[in-house]
Symmetry: C2
Subunit: 307 residues, 2 copies
Amino acid sequence: MRDVQICEVGPRDGLQLVRQVMPTQTKREWIEALARCGFGEIDATSFVPPQAFPQFADAAELVQTARAVSAQWRVGALVPNAKGAERAISAGAQMLYCIVSASHSHSMANTRRTREEQAEIVGAIVAQAKQQAKAPHVMGGIPTAFGCSLEGRVAERDVCQVAEALARRGVDEIGLADTVGYADPRLVRSLVKAVRSAVGPEMPIRLHFHDTMGLGLANVLAGLEAGVTSFDAACGGLGGCPFAPGASGNIATEDLVFMLEQMGLRTGIDLEHLLAATEILAAALPEERIRSHVREAGLPKVYGVAA
Amino acid sequence: MRDVQICEVGPRDGLQLVRQVMPTQTKREWIEALARCGFGEIDATSFVPPQAFPQFADAAELVQTARAVSAQWRVGALVPNAKGAERAISAGAQMLYCIVSASHSHSMANTRRTREEQAEIVGAIVAQAKQQAKAPHVMGGIPTAFGCSLEGRVAERDVCQVAEALARRGVDEIGLADTVGYADPRLVRSLVKAVRSAVGPEMPIRLHFHDTMGLGLANVLAGLEAGVTSFDAACGGLGGCPFAPGASGNIATEDLVFMLEQMGLRTGIDLEHLLAATEILAAALPEERIRSHVREAGLPKVYGVAA
């Protein structure tokens, strides 16, 4: 029983900007520790080309690990194209995270394809998924939905057009991603409303915030008020997009869980176990800045619904 | 024309936990830089006993400086007792910030007086203020209104009783302070509603959040939704209460201004000038951690109502 669903994206988005390649064995320990927390979903890795992204060369192994350590969560991975989707499906991924940027410039920088070309690729991935006996869930993510450090403001109309294109191609869910941390609570309310009217009320919407300007949790609150109950977050506040200048970490899962539980909303996540998982990360990446208020301050005397 | 009033509390609350005594000349430069930002109110210092708190030995001088550099803002100061109020009034303070903690333990640790004794003192300060030709505004602050690191949860009933006691003694405004950073958006909504029914809709309510758990700006959003339009914040996110274990910095004024302006709410504050004021602080206190997302990330391409 959860009021809010949190997808842990640390092993995928969290590692995107980390230069030091984390040993596969450490990633496995981290994923095992995350499995103990009670997440309903994890973005376990990214099926980007291993030559260009050595951090994700062990993608198949990590999907297998995540599947093996828990039957309680849906194991997802980013798939940039048909080849990546094929690899992810073979490895046993239950969720394929595909993307079409709202900003043309970010789409070109990130995928070297226009938004239209990228939408075609998502269509092909949906077709691949549907051929499976048990079709993986296809998540259509929209990076730079709340603004772009290359283009500045991104028109709501452009985001809605991308969302419609994704819906038309059969994705199971739309993800609005604030890749560079430009979102504010008013924009969140307004964009969720606009996208919901573009794709219809049946299409689930997920929100993905980066905490660049410190507005991440305020944006989550605005999202909740707009009726969204599904959010991405990364353990230790790690993350960022290598093709979006100035992008910084995701909202920290620890802080998000803390806020929601304090508000009386059930996340299903054990915060003590989560803090233990973050320690694995912190020990493995001593050069990275771990940004989690809860980790730094410790849990207060008053915590959670029962307190 | 402002939609939201922000009181800069850096020179008072911000310096409370700073061990290094900042030279008076540096404080003056900082206050002059803050005067250029457009604040309508500043908490310029604290009239605590100078023997015990050398950081605030120059209180009178700073009130005079703040008065001299701008006629646009109301210059306030914390006054712990009648003696402090006398000194503040002589120096020209236009706002007296008095306190009665919601938590008995915090009241004893901070003032060595019970809440009832402290409320009597506030009554005496109000009487002193009213004797002046131009009576200073008396702000009745309630530390630990959202929880206490000594006692844990603080009952809403206790906060309402303190608020009623302050209102009865004639304060002009009630401030609900989250001294240790335990507030969450649900509690903010609930407590503002409860206090408003206790003291009546005519009494202005101000909110004061610390960002210990990273929920500061989400709490501001909840406060705005509850109808509050007046908030404290400290430049660089400095601050904390020496008698509240675990207390950390205030919400950073830079981040608060950024969020509000992005939402289309006018604060009257020039963020570029504010960032310049923070640099004075950062240079003067190299050992302190300056916590401001906006300072760290820089202003994005998209900023403010006109963007």
